[in-house]
């Protein structure tokens, strides 16, 4: 039973290793209340909504760039070391990465204010996290080939870049329809970091050159830092490997999720601006904030510079040196020149800011009872706000990452089938793939809302050959305006 609990925690941990990246299918899909989390200024045709706890928003994403599982593990009869050299060592570059992210929503509630119906308030809690490992290209070559045949090549330590976290987020948002042209929104966030590790902006190199005295000179210049918070506690519990490991780990994760970890603040802002009767633009800026890490911190550093040409005996200087431990002396000197140390200093990490921008054009409108005079702040009915039969447009997503901003561009088409079903399909290009076709279904049966969104459908024809996959789904209960 305890092993089961541990396993479930590991599974949950794996799933909660997340932080939402591009969710182009969900963005501006305003029939789904979770679209408020991607743009607090999205249209809100609901009177109230509540997500079904733990099932209202679940998403996982995984991606690789530069290589797929199939590239390496296809049963093709080719020697694996040869494949590894060609596909990994010679094929992957420092900006290629392996990553996974996910979100699990614990609860999500929203309601329209009675005394000010232009306002829609929403709040909730979700956990998210991610792991992103950039490929350490130079160090991989060094490990695979060694330095003997790479004289004068500088192996950069800057290629070391790794980041991961799990964080629980409490949020409270306000969405306000200012008039028929503008809807704006903002969301405040309180972050409770469960754990985090980050190694980025490293510098230095290792190089082997012709020696000044001896045949070869090895030089290491290092400025490498790994910051962690919460990780040490988890590893300590796992190291214990006692009967209570599962329960201890569950207790720790729960405590750190519920404000017992490192805390931070942030906000989202966004808007929807109607350009005419059939078109509008939206934009949102998400996770502008920080986490202040003050507890359970363990930082590791490797800083300094050293060159080595082996043990040296130079006469007459060493005639009076009776120390025969010159090998150990050499090792001690190098360790002194490039100390590997740790500390528990507090630090601040900025949240990975995300930007969404979209343009949308609706066509094939249904016969509306009212014409849009662009003069009212009265809350629109569902039939009015869901005022399209078809829609198409484009979206831009950007996120600030360890190696600078990453972007994704999406074209989408959306179609409503009666009041029951809405389909959205997307085509997205980003660093992972140029052939990402996604499909989203939103099903509304009475007050029950169910959505499922999946990316990179072409990849499902051979999943191991796919460089990216994502899946989101959730259940909500929605009361629409006018009901």
């Amino acid at each position: 039973m305890k092993k089961t609990i541990l396993f479930l925690w590991i599974v949950l941990f794996g799933a909660v290793v997340l932080y939402a990246q591009n969710k182009q299918l969900l963005y501006d899909f305003y029939e789904i209340p979770q679209s408020l989390l991607l743009n607090p200024g999205v249209k809100t045709p609901y009177k109230w909504h509540t997500g079904i706890p733990l099932l209202s928003g679940f998403s996982v994403q995984a991606g690789t760039s530069g290589i797929t599982v199939n590239d390496l593990f296809a049963n093709d009869g080719i020697d694996f070391t040869t494949k590894f050299r060609e596909k990994v060592i010679n094929g992957i570059r420092k900006n290629d990465e392996f990553g996974g992210s996910g979100t699990i929503e614990l609860f999500n509630i929203g309601f329209r204010r009675r005394n000010r119906p232009s306002d829609y308030i929403s709040f909730g809690m979700y956990g998210e996290g991610f792991i992103a490992q950039f490929w350490p290209e130079d160090l991989a070559v060094l490990a695979f080939e060694g330095n003997a045949n790479n004289l004068n090549r500088r192996f950069s330590l800057n290629h070391i870049a790794s980041q991961g976290e799990a964080v629980n987020v409490f949020h409270f948002g306000l969405n306000r329809k200012l008039n028929n042209k503008w809807t704006i929104g903002a969301r405040a966030k309180l972050y409770s970091s469960v754990f985090e590790f980050r190694s980025a902006n490293n510098n230095g190199y290792f190089v082997t050159t012709q020696g000044e005295n001896n045949i070869l000179r090895n030089t290491l210049v290092a400025d490498v830092t790994l910051r962690t918070s919460g990780v040490e506690e988890i590893l300590d519990i796992l190291d214990e490997d006692s009967n209570s490991t599962g329960a201890d780990l569950a207790s720790l994760l729960l405590r750190r999720s519920l404000l017992g970890g490192n805390l931070g603040l942030g906000f989202d802002v966004g808007f929807t601006h109607t350009l005419g009767r059939n078109s509008y633009v939206t934009a949102s800026l998400l996770d502008v904030g920080f986490i202040y890490h003050t507890n359970a911190i363990k930082n590791y550093t490797l800083k300094g510079a050293a060159s080595n040409e082996g043990v040296e005996i130079i006469l007459p200087d060493d005639l009076t040196n009776f120390n025969t431990e010159i090998w150990q002396e050499l090792i001690d000197d190098i360790e002194e020149q490039i100390p590997f140390s740790d500390n528990e200093r507090s630090y601040i990490t900025l949240r990975p800011i995300k930007l969404n921008v979209s343009f949308r054009y609706n066509f094939g409108e249904r016969d509306l009872k009212k014409k849009n005079c662009e003069c009212s702040t009265k809350t629109a009915l569902r039939a009015e706000n869901l005022d399209y039969q078809n829609a198409f447009g484009g979206q831009l997503f950007m996120i600030n990452r360890a190696r600078g901003p990453q972007a994704a561009l999406t074209a989408f088409y959306q179609r409503r089938l009666a009041n029951v079903l809405t389909i959205k399909t997307t085509y997205t290009i980003d660093k992972f793939t140029f052939s990402n076709i996604g499909l989203g279904l939103n099903l509304q049966t009475g007050p029950i809302n169910f959505y499922v969104l999946a990316d990179n459908l072409l990849g499902y024809s051979n999943i191991p050959d796919s460089s990216y996959a994502s899946l989101q789904f959730g259940f909500n209960i929605i009361s629409w305006n006018g009901n």
Binding site: F73, L216, V452
Partner: protein, 178 residues
């Protein structure tokens, strides 16, 4: 709700495919880099050699655990030690490098004779592993003894600028990381 989930799982299973993968291939991955480093450097000027007269002018044993370190000794496959001897003094000189184990037993040795100047750079490569000497020599080496002997006179002076005897050495070994 259960029916809906079952339907979605069914759709996923029906329409998704996967080419056959063989994850056991990973066991065949071989990572064997060749790492290189200088080992030791010995230098003596002619003045000191003359000062000690003919015969031995230097002998010292020092610890050298680069090869016996488990990270190397457990992983080394084969390799080469390269020696370079340069003599710009006016006398013939001999150098002896001995590899010793913890008990002081000589496991192996390399002897060099360098003619008086002018003499070309002497380079010697010694292979270890399948096509050379036993790797156990290196695995068990914890000390190195360096001995220098003056095989000529103790008075002559080379016309070269800063006459010296220099022994350089480096090693390049293939190690099995995986």
């Amino acid at each position: 709700m259960k029916r809906l989930l079952s339907f979605l799982v069914y759709i996923f299973l029906v329409f998704s495919c996967a080419e056959e993968q063989d994850f056991d291939q990973f066991d065949d991955l071989s990572i064997e880099p060749t790492v290189a480093s200088s080992i030791f450097y010995f230098e003596s000027n002619e003045e000191i050699i003359n000062a000690f007269g003919t015969g031995g002018f230097y002998e010292e044993v020092f610890t050298f655990e680069a090869f016996s370190d488990p990270n190397v000794s457990d992983r080394v496959i084969d390799g080469t030690i390269t020696y370079q001897l340069e003599n710009t003094t006016s006398k013939d000189l001999g150098l002896l490098i001995e590899f010793l184990d913890e008990g002081g037993t000589v496991l192996d040795s390399e002897s060099f004779i360098a003619d008086e100047e002018p003499t070309p750079l002497l380079e010697r490569q010694v292979a270890y592993g399948e096509s050379g000497k036993s790797l156990d020599i290196l695995r068990n080496t914890t000390n190195i003894r360096v001995s220098g002997e003056n095989l000529g006179d103790a008075t002559s002076q080379s016309s070269q600028n800063e006459p010296k005897i220099i022994l350089r050495s480096s090693a390049a070994f293939r190690v099995r990381l995986r």
